[in-house]
Symmetry: C2
Subunit: 235 residues, 2 copies
Amino acid sequence: MASTISPAAAAAALASIATPTTLVGQHQLYTRIRLATPADVPHIHKLIYQMAVFQNETHLFTATESSLATTLFNSPPFQSFTVFILEVSSNPFKNIHSPAFLPIERTVLVDHVAADPEAETFKSGVVNENDDDVTVAGFVLFVPSYTTFAGKPGFHVEDLLVRECYRRKGFGKMLLSAVAEQAVKMGFKRVEWSVLEWNVNAIKFYEEMGAKVLTEWRVCRLTGDALEAYGDANY
Amino acid sequence: MASTISPAAAAAALASIATPTTLVGQHQLYTRIRLATPADVPHIHKLIYQMAVFQNETHLFTATESSLATTLFNSPPFQSFTVFILEVSSNPFKNIHSPAFLPIERTVLVDHVAADPEAETFKSGVVNENDDDVTVAGFVLFVPSYTTFAGKPGFHVEDLLVRECYRRKGFGKMLLSAVAEQAVKMGFKRVEWSVLEWNVNAIKFYEEMGAKVLTEWRVCRLTGDALEAYGDANY
């Protein structure tokens, strides 16, 4: 079949170089990934709780805003615990000052923007008071790891969450890609994370991103009283 | 049956308060766990290679003494990558200055001290030149992790190795316990590591130490070209 390009389509194609083409029923959504600041702690706290709900582990949730605030921001970004915040807005973002990490901005076309039942709770604007339309949609928390065989650092992704009404729009990939991009920038040789074996959608998604699921390895965990017992030097 | 205590046994029991009782055929071995220094890099490099051999992954071994030296000692101990060195000696250790971590010393009784075919290669004495009888027997490399549900840090143990001729003497437990003890001291809530599922001896050993093996979780790993692809911001 011969392909024909209508003048309207050609104009649209040219226009798409500057801005994405919006099809009927599609919406433009501005997205930004930036470093978290202590002002984000209330949102981070609620996002972690939502993750505990998703994993049926709310009984393990003891984090407080205070425990997060006192532990997350003690080292320069990427040297220890680091949090990226994903924000969305229907308007372009104002610039923010962030010398340690240039925020990643993308304009995405989404077929449908579901009403955000928690829009008020997750209203951002913590960085720029004029950004009154900015909503926190997700986060990723990661920390340096070490690849002994390569003698090089890597990143271990501890948690990644995109809020329910913003899922299936590529935002999870955007967050994980931001960590991978940062790893490459820093000459790191590995990005690792854990996934529940029953979460087949997540596994498919990670494999599509180029990750390998290591079937032979198991995680060992020492916590609670079993860990505290080692506080006594006479164990 | 009435119990009787012979004068010789009573004397031995009293003596054991000061020094362990040595049975016929047993040997005293002095052990010490201390923080690694840059001078340990050649030994760390060789130990990591032995680990690659054990895991049948020498094809992944690209670490050099230089890559280890430039990446392992850039942060204060316990804030980022941290290495404990296990040393053994047939003589008591001389004191070393180590304000960040008071070395852990134990005198152990071993039934048999096998000849160490690599004694010369792993001769320590890097801390104190008078310690000419000190041999590096193993190491553990660990790094802070983050327990989001608790809002607290933890440790992730990246690698642990006891050299072949020093195995089955409790030294692996000693190294892992030192990490756990440090975690408790710092108010950390978790120590985690990975184990190969076929390494049933290791799993049994870890469970005896109080660890739980998480059967549901799988490790995802992004490395090599798949990772490097994210270095291009247009992924």
